[in-house]
């Protein structure tokens, strides 16, 4: 290993090739880490208590080419408990226009207890929490989020959530 990281001239062509390969791998790794860090930081700018954490991503829906999906985890980086209602989560373009979207605090499918047309007048908070309609985060806690939108409806640049704003990942 010491040979590989040495600054001395390579003793052979094989060593030179090895060093070059290692440099490329290290460079690629550094680049990848930088991308992940960029994603993890939400594109570098955020205001408010929430931050991206982990590998947030935007992808084209596998069977709906015109739909985009943002998925990742949000972390409460503040020192107080935070409640976010899904109705307050919006995608906003760089020009400040709202991009119609469909957010939910989930990363896979789930469903409500109540059938269509049978729910109570006021759905209990516990059900809203379970089904990803609200997020309740103590300091340091994370919550998954998925937001989908039609690409034709606009290019979102940030995610607003009333108490703050996040840059789009990626």
């Amino acid at each position: 290993m010491s040979t590989i990281i040495s600054t001395a001239p390579p003793a052979s062509r094989a060593e030179a090739l090895t060093r070059r390969a290692v440099v490329m791998i290290v460079a690629a790794t550094v680049g990848l880490v930088a991308v992940i860090a960029f994603v993890g930081l939400g594109g570098g700018s955020a205001s408010g208590p929430l931050t991206w954490t982990g590998d947030a991503m935007v992808f084209t829906h596998p069977t709906i080419p015109g739909d985009r999906v943002l998925t990742g985890k949000l972390k409460n980086s503040s020192t107080h408990t935070l409640r976010v209602d899904i109705g307050d989560v919006r995608l906003v373009s760089s020009g400040g226009e709202v991009v119609p979207s469909n957010p939910v605090f989930l990363q896979t499918f789930g469903k409500s207890l109540w059938a269509a047309g049978r729910g109570p007048q006021q759905v209990p908070d516990s059900e809203l929490l379970r089904t990803g309609r609200i997020a309740l985060l103590s300091p340091g806690e994370e919550v998954p989020v998925t937001i989908a939108w039609h690409d034709k409806d606009g290019k979102p640049a940030r995610v607003d959530y009333k108490a703050g704003s996040l840059s789009m990942p990626g």
């Binding site: 709906i64 990363q107 469903k111 047309g117 908070d125 989908a148």
Partner: protein, 533 residues
């Protein structure tokens, strides 16, 4: 411990049971005792129910069967009841109730109010508010009727109520136990029990151990046509269920059950629903489902916590989705779902287009009482064109079935995190050790090719899942969405976290609402796929 986690743990402890619908707290009967009831031709108490025109109907139905006709007409002479509920009210343990041919609308039951002011204090709360601190609050829940409500006001929610437990704390049947209620027509259509959607349930068997229902047609409930709850020993046989707003046949926290020779169609949710099934953990299968024909429902078969169910030799076809089992609901006994065994079923042509724009508009704009009850309005969302779905299940066996002509996916395996049930401390606990073997994919029993859009869809989450000896037309390898190939059996012991683009591609479907969000962006479930060539 974090306040939110504390709140969710409290929820897990206090949240009432639900079946992907609100229900009271419910508990499993003692699975160590009990059995499936067997048919009896005699009993100490035999009660006969009839209508004015029963004799005429008997003569018409049994034309050409003179001996049986004479026997029925003799039995008819012992009729003392015009309504089934009246006979149930008179029945002792072990009674046989014979229902002569006719249409039973149960008018006295219909006149009972819902909610019933006499039982205004007999409610429990589902869910609760959450305080700003993150702790669970004491209020903010939704009320549901408890067992006392059913015992004291049996016909408020139910056209026919068989309520077995007395006012004690044991949750075990005391009276109305081992009842056999059977239609006496030559065919199941000769006896029709019609709810007209004025009641949640047409027939409710609640802690009614040993209940045996046989040989009739039942229709038009607002919730369940037949509902078996906290019952040890039940048998549903030779019954046709049609046009329930939600479920045809539903059992919940019940054990030692048999669904046999049933037909179910026109349900807004599922034709048959063995939910919160026996906790045998694969050592025993406490509910058997056989010779069921479930079609033209939103789902042919579903079961949240559908544990310990052996479904075999059934047909699930022409629904939006054929079969599902899942781990979605909070506080549901038996979570996470495990140990369903599905064998020798035909699961085909599940492409019913109940989520198209025209149907969406009809269901959204027509108040429930004004709807044509024969039009299926989905009450839950499903991926149209899917044969079989396991949404958060463990130890399930899908073996030697015929799965074909489902235009999206033959089989869909998707995980559900425990947090979705209010149990975040359990992390990820589903999609473990499911086995798919020996299934014929995309080919009819005749050998004719009839492809699924894709044979196996898997989010690649879980551990121990395996696929072996499944075959397509001519023995070809089944298709799948797993680029590296489906794992053989036994499955890997290494946990796979799943593919985020697959799991997240399903998340938006959770926000479906037929009134406000019938086609959420990022969800492909509600557009019927084109028929694969």
């Amino acid at each position: 411990m974090r306040p939110t986690l504390v709140a969710l743990l409290l929820l897990a402890l206090t949240a009432p049971v639900a079946v992907a619908h609100p229900e009271r707290h419910a508990y499993f009967p003692n699975g160590a005792v009990g059995s499936v009831p067997t048919y009896r031709s005699t009993a100490d108490q035999v009660l006969v129910v009839c209508k004015k025109n029963s004799a005429k109907r008997i003569r018409r139905s049994f034309k050409g069967h003179r001996r049986l006709m004479r026997k029925r007409l003799r039995q008819l002479k012992r009729c003392h009841f015009r309504n089934i509920q009246a006979a149930v009210n008179r029945a002792h343990n072990g009674a046989i109730i014979r229902i002569m041919p006719g249409v039973y609308r149960e008018r006295p039951s219909r006149r009972e109010h819902q909610p019933d002011p006499r039982c205004k204090d007999d409610y429990e709360q589902i869910g609760n508010a959450i305080l700003a601190s993150g702790m669970a609050g004491t209020g903010g829940g939704a009320p549901v009727a408890n067992y006392e409500y059913q015992r004291k006001c049996p016909n408020a929610q139910n056209l026919i109520a068989i309520i077995g437990d007395g006012p004690d704390a044991d949750r075990v049947c005391d009276h109305k136990c081992n009842l056999q209620i059977q239609g006496m027509g030559r065919r199941r259509r000769d006896v029709l029990i019609s709810g007209r959607r004025t009641k949640l349930n047409v027939i409710r068997a609640d802690r009614a151990d040993g209940i045996y229902l046989k040989n009739f047609t039942v229709e038009y409930s607002d919730f369940n046509n037949i509902y078996v709850l906290e019952t040890n020993g039940f048998r549903l046989e030779d019954i046709k269920s049609r046009y329930s707003r939600e479920y045809g046949f539903l059992s919940f926290t019940s054990d030692h059950g048999l669904y046999n020779r049933l037909e179910a169609f026109g349900s807004g949710d599922s034709g048959v629903y063995p939910g919160s099934g026996p906790e045998g953990h694969c050592a025993r299968y406490g509910i058997e489902i056989r010779h069921v024909n479930s079609h033209h429902n939103t789902i042919g078969y579903s079961g949240t916590a559908g544990n310990g169910v052996w479904a075999h030799d059934n047909r699930f076809h022409h629904n939006a989705t054929g079969m599902t089992t899942d781990s979605f609901a909070s506080g549901h006994p038996g979570m996470p779902q495990d140990c369903a065994k599905w064998e020798h079923n035909r699961i085909y042509s599940n492409n019913a287009d109940y989520f198209n724009a025209k149907r969406d508009a009809y269901c959204k704009n027509t108040p429930i009482p004004e709807r044509d009850p024969k039009v299926v309005c989905p009450t839950f969302q499903v991926p149209v064109g899917t044969g079989l779905g396991i949404f958060g299940g463990n130890g399930d066996i899908v073996r030697n079935n015929w799965i074909y002509d489902n235009w999206r996916d033959g089989v869909k395996l998707l995980y559900v995190p425990a947090a979705f049930r209010g149990q975040p401390e359990k992390g990820i606990d589903t999609s473990f050790d499911n086995t798919f073997s020996g299934n014929k994919m995309g080919v009819r029993p005749s050998g004719l090719r009839d492809p699924n859009g894709n044979d196996f869809w898997w989010d690649e989450e879980g551990r121990g899942n395996c696929f072996a000896a499944n075959s397509g037309p001519g023995g070809a390898k089944p298709s799948s969405n797993v680029l590296t190939g489906l794992p053989g059996c036994p499955g890997s012991t290494v946990f796979s976290p799943g593919i985020p683009t697959k799991t997240a591609s399903q998340a938006s479907c959770a926000t479906w609402d037929p009134y406000s969000n019938p086609d959420p962006p990022g969800c492909d479930w509600f557009t019927r796929p084109k028929e694969p060539k």
